[in-house]
Subunit: 129 residues, 2 copies
DNA sequence: TATAATTATAGTAATCATTATTATTATTAA
DNA sequence: TTAATAATAATAATGATTACTATAATTATA
């Protein structure tokens, strides 16, 4: 196994993830971090986002359209995805703690976690339409 | 607006979706329907799967790896996705009916639906490891 | 502190899933 | 039966992501 080595690029990516609340795509992270590191490569962004997700320092959010999104907020919470504009928004909804066990009752494998995504229209799209 | 025209290819795709319980990817549908229509195009498969989903005759399941999957069972239900092999399995868990309203309480837009995916290890991967 | 070892990067090519294009074919309406 | 039109097959194009490789940055060691 290889040991993790510091990199300023990864630090900048992590910082941006933690400061942003828009659940950016890899490309959005790329655009932002390029202000500090004009030569950073999109591959570097992807590699580090996935690394941070593996380390548990970020969450990868699978969406139906427009690529995965990333979230620096690692505490369990749920998301809303607007079917009009695709934006992802944090929800204030307490964690469903018993569903994993409930789902496991009639199931032959081992259930460890779940993710839930809510869909509809965000307030921006309601107002601007 | 254009009127829908019958096609034997679409009929075969629909039939396969309804007979299968493995939540096939577009490519799996393609492989199967090719036995009846050797010249069918992958584009035709994609177009019809999306069309069926739009018509409400199938459900598109977004997964973290390996492409979207399709389900001919349209009654609301939840899925499990194995983190080892990627297989998608139906769960016997009753629908969470109040979460949409609960999520909407502190939210500025309109929430219409949700999807939930459970993760863990399926029984095949537990046994074969 | 200099040097060696090793990981990370930039730049680029390749891959995978999906959608778009277009000439031809199948279905439906007149 | 013919005309209108939607669907298809074949292929090209796109978008998101990963793989490759020579160089640069970081860390360990002498």
């Amino acid at each position: 196994m290889s040991t993790l080595k510091y990199s300023r690029q990864r630090e900048s990516i992590k910082e941006y993830l933690n400061s942003s609340c828009e659940h950016p795509t890899a490309d959005m992270v790329y655009m932002s971090v390029r202000q500090e590191f004009p030569n950073i490569s999109l591959g570097t962004v992807y590699r580090n986002l996935n690394l941070l997700a593996d380390l548990g320092e970020a969450i990868k959010i699978t969406t139906p359209n427009g690529g995965d999104r990333f979230d620096g907020r690692t505490a369990p919470h749920y998301h809303f995805c607007c079917t009009k504009c695709g934006n992802v928004i944090d929800l204030d909804l307490k964690e469903l703690t018993h569903v994993n066990e409930a789902a496991n009752e009639h199931f032959d494998g081992i259930i460890e976690s779940h993710s839930m995504m809510f869909y509809g229209t965000c307030s921006d799209c309601i107002n601007n339409q």
